[in-house]
């Protein structure tokens, strides 16, 4: 089988942005080679079954607030932690679902899990990064990565 690639992630991310965060095409996600600063919010879905691993999105605090504001139609300064969890959880769910479509049939997608960095969830023990897309959205860093936790990659 072929593993997801950075190009796959970029194509999926462009579709998600056009569908939900940037329907007018004026504020796209901009890929970058620069390593983003330490993220504040981590959203992940796990894939089990024929392929095992994780799809992970990391956001700066502002990026997560902007995502919640855009998806929920509320002002950024009114965004709550629950709003952020819901919005970034749905984003990683959609991106994860599309990554899963590139994996062997019989893979299952978990419900999304969202944590802030101060909750200490940004490591995937025994997992190996398969590909990564990093960049910025309205000058705020966002990264998307795919990890495999066994030799299915």
């Amino acid at each position: 089988m072929t593993s997801p690639t950075t190009e796959d992630l970029q194509a999926i991310t462009e579709q998600v942005w056009l569908s939900y965060l940037d329907p007018e095409g004026v504020a796209p996600f901009l890929p970058s080679e620069e390593t983003p600063s330490l993220p504040h919010v981590i959203a992940a879905v796990s894939v089990t079954g024929a392929w095992e691993g994780h799809v992970v999105m990391s956001f700066s605090e502002s990026a997560s607030q902007m995502a919640a504001s855009a998806l929920l139609g509320i002002e950024e300064d009114e965004v709550s932690r629950d709003d952020i969890a819901d919005a970034v959880g749905e984003l990683v769910n959609v991106i994860g679902g599309n990554v899963k479509s590139l994996l062997p049939d019989g893979s299952l997608l978990s419900l999304p899990h969202v944590a802030t960095i101060d909750e200490g969830v940004n490591k995937w023990p025994a997992a190996v990064e398969v590909c990564r897309l990093q960049g910025s959205w309205q000058n705020e860093p966002i990264a998307i990565s795919v990890w495999t936790s066994k030799s299915t990659g």
């Binding site: 998806l71 709003d83 919005a87 479509s101």
Partner: protein
Amino acid sequence: MVIDDSRAMRLILRRIVTQLGFEVHEAGNGREALELLEKMDAPPTVALIDWNMPEMNGLEFVTAVRSQERYRQITLMMVTTESEHGQIVRALAAGAHEYVIKPFTPEAITEKLALLGLVPSGTLS
């Protein structure tokens, strides 16, 4: 009726179908949706249903609705990230009428509803 565990996704779908003239009821999973159906005076015209939800997923909801004659006229449309051919077949075999894969555009939802005869076919133009 919009059934999705994400408030953000429910809001996106609500905006789309409200613009098409539908009154919208929301549920966060299949069980909540079944409870809501029990309370409604008349069944909804259409249900837009996520697949992966806690407590009762979309496929289970479709199966439950299709087992009840009183809900026979509800049009069931899956709106989900599940894009595997086998999953689509399962949903359609269980009684779903249409299938939309996320991410979607408002036009994609409108087009599917038009194909089902639930909105005028000229709505997109």
